[in-house]
Amino acid sequence: MKSPVLTIGVGNSDRGDDAVGLIVAQRLRQRLPAHVPILQTTGDPGCLLEALQTAETIILIDAVHSRWEAGLTSGTTGASPGTIHRFAAHESPLPADFFRCSTHAIGIPETIELARALDYLPRQLIVYGIEARDFATGTGLSAPVEQAADKLVDILCRTPECILDVCPNAQGS
């Protein structure tokens, strides 16, 4: 039995603004009742592919760096740090140049396309990408990303696809 809705925060808590997906998930956890399912993950493709099959609507939050190019420092390209991007990933692929690509792992856009090919996508998959400023080693968000995290938490608790509005009587996952 699928949950009506699942929120997934993706990130790396040791790489500056890359932690923002996890932090939004943690703050939502504090604001929402315990039965509302929220998942925090490093973005492991196996874990994500599994999670994508467990709910009708999924909200996924991750740090992004629009028109990402390896070696560029943030702010030199793309949107300004703290910008919140919203994608209806169940309708079309995510822009690949928004997400950090790695030779070490399958990224979020690739995992979502793999899920699409395998018919694992939920009815609705909304991806929120928060423009990051700094992916350097260390903990703590930059000021604009910190503000964006709070703003997104407010949005998610208020907008039509808000977790609570979608599943006012959800019984856990």
């Binding site: 490093t42 492991d44 196996g46 874990c47 592919l49 599994e50 030779t103 070490h104 792992a105 399958i106 690739e110 396309e113 793999l114 090919a117 395998l118 018919d119």
Partner: protein, 429 residues
């Protein structure tokens, strides 16, 4: 004079960052370099001054795919230094968590990284569109491996429950038994995978390799055994430095290894299966024989079959260990600190992984040496490419380039490990 250059900048579907540059002049290879340009990571240097007990968790960070291998080789080397013997159920649990890592790693490589080469796809997403069942099965198999690593290691990526002397905590019999059905289903998928990979189109290519693997009198090697080869090598782990030499070559940030006086050698699943065929589980062996895969197999492209045979073996071995498991009284054995040098060599998914540590009487690391499988295979990868390209110069540029990449992927190279990355320049001048 006819010359050409084929250049591939970034090799895909390998773990890490590297390249291949090949220059062909008058129908002959003028220059060939398998280049590893991922920055060196200096793990050996920053291990100095750390405690012996930190070695398993620090070195595990060398690789997100085979952290267990690093933990195991580090533990065995430290235990060798400290005179610790881990046996019984704790030893069996170490084999079990290694089964989990082999299943995870082999499933990823066979289905998502290597199979696209044989089927003519760029990546796993394309395979998933045309053959979703193959990818679904791969994910199911990988999940079974993840479950083992998560249960025994505390989490599926960078597990944290392994320590010198054993584990921090051990599972109950019931917890392990909960994985039985998942592993039986995984074993069925693995048997099918052997049959399926045996039908793939293999280039007609063989070389006379020196295969090197661990060999143990009673079991298929994971953690322990003597280092043996098909050319008479038969040594203990502590003799490694006498027989194997590492050297720096300018085009690679990973050191090249060779056997003193003999040259390049081959480690990994194909070497293990060739040298330990008699120690495979009966089902793994029978499945291999049923597809006419018999040792010695000298076609490196068929390493994909060897990997699947090991998938069957790993599932079988995991099921055996779980069935015979009795929860040990203590999660780890006790020991006293002493100044010494310790040597450990275990079978990572990609082949032998050697660790050596010298520690003082407080257990602080004075020096460390780590030799991962990919750096050991670099010589054989370059030799394969040299011979394969020479024999296939008539192929169109795109096809030759494709098969060069496939030749490299036969070894499932983990470049992050070896530098602790791949870019391909195939140049016809």
């Amino acid at each position: 004079m006819k010359s050409r250059t084929i250049k591939i900048d970034w090799l895909a579907r390998v773990e890490g960052e590297g390249a291949l540059n090949v220059k062909i002049k008058d129908g002959k290879i003028a220059d060939l370099k398998f280049k590893i340009f991922e920055p060196p990571r200096f793990f050996e240097a920053f291990m100095r001054g750390r405690k012996y007990s930190e070695a398993p968790d620090i070195t595990a960070r060398i690789c997100g795919i085979c952290p267990i291998a690093y933990q195991m080789s580090a533990c065995h080397a430290m235990e060798d230094a400290l005179g610790v013997k881990v046996d019984g159920q704790l030893r069996a649990l170490r084999r079990l968590i290694y089964c989990g890592e082999w299943i995870e790693s082999h499933a990823l490589h066979v289905f998502l990284l290597h199979a696209p080469d044989f089927l003519g796809y760029e990546d796993a997403i394309q395979i998933a569109r045309d053959h979703p069942d193959i990818v679904r099965r791969a994910l199911q198999l990988k999940k079974a491996g993840n479950s083992l690593v998560t249960l025994l290691g505390g989490r599926e990526i960078h597990p944290i429950n392994v320590r010198v002397g054993g584990f921090y905590s051990v599972p109950t019999k019931r917890e392990l038994a909960s994985l039985t059905e998942k592993l039986k289903a995984a074993r069925d998928i693995a048997v099918e995978a052997v049959r399926w990979t045996a039908t793939l189109p293999f280039p007609d290519f063989e070389r006379d390799y020196e295969f090197v693997a661990l060999r143990h009198p009673d079991e298929y090697p994971f953690n322990e055994g003597r280092l043996v080869s098909n050319r008479g090598l038969d040594i203990a782990a502590h003799e490694y430095d006498k027989y194997f030499t590492e050297e720096h070559v300018a085009h690679s940030t990973a050191l090249h290894s060779h056997i003193e006086g003999r040259g390049a050698y081959f480690v990994g699943p194909l070497a293990r299966v060739n040298l330990n065929f008699d120690k495979l589980s009966p089902l793994a062996r029978e499945t291999a024989v049923s597809v006419k895969f018999k040792p010695p197999c000298r076609n490196p492209f068929k390493s994909i079959i060897a990997r699947c045979v090991e998938l069957v073996h790993s599932c079988d071995e995991a099921l055996r260990i779980i069935a015979e498991y009795e929860m040990p009284d203590q999660p780890a054995v006790q020991f006293q600190m002493q100044a010494a040098t310790g040597y450990g060599c275990t079978e990572a998914p990609r082949g032998i992984l050697y660790h050596r540590y010298r520690i003082d009487d407080q257990g602080l690391i004075l020096d460390a040496k780590i030799v991962p499988p990919t750096s050991q295979n670099q010589g054989s990868i370059e030799a394969d490419l040299r011979e394969f390209i020479s024999a296939n110069l008539n192929l169109p540029a795109d096809k030759l380039q494709w098969q060069c990449e496939q030749t490299i992927r036969n070894y499932d190279p983990c470049i992050s490990c070896s530098t602790h990355y791949l870019k391909l320049h195939l140049e016809r001048m």
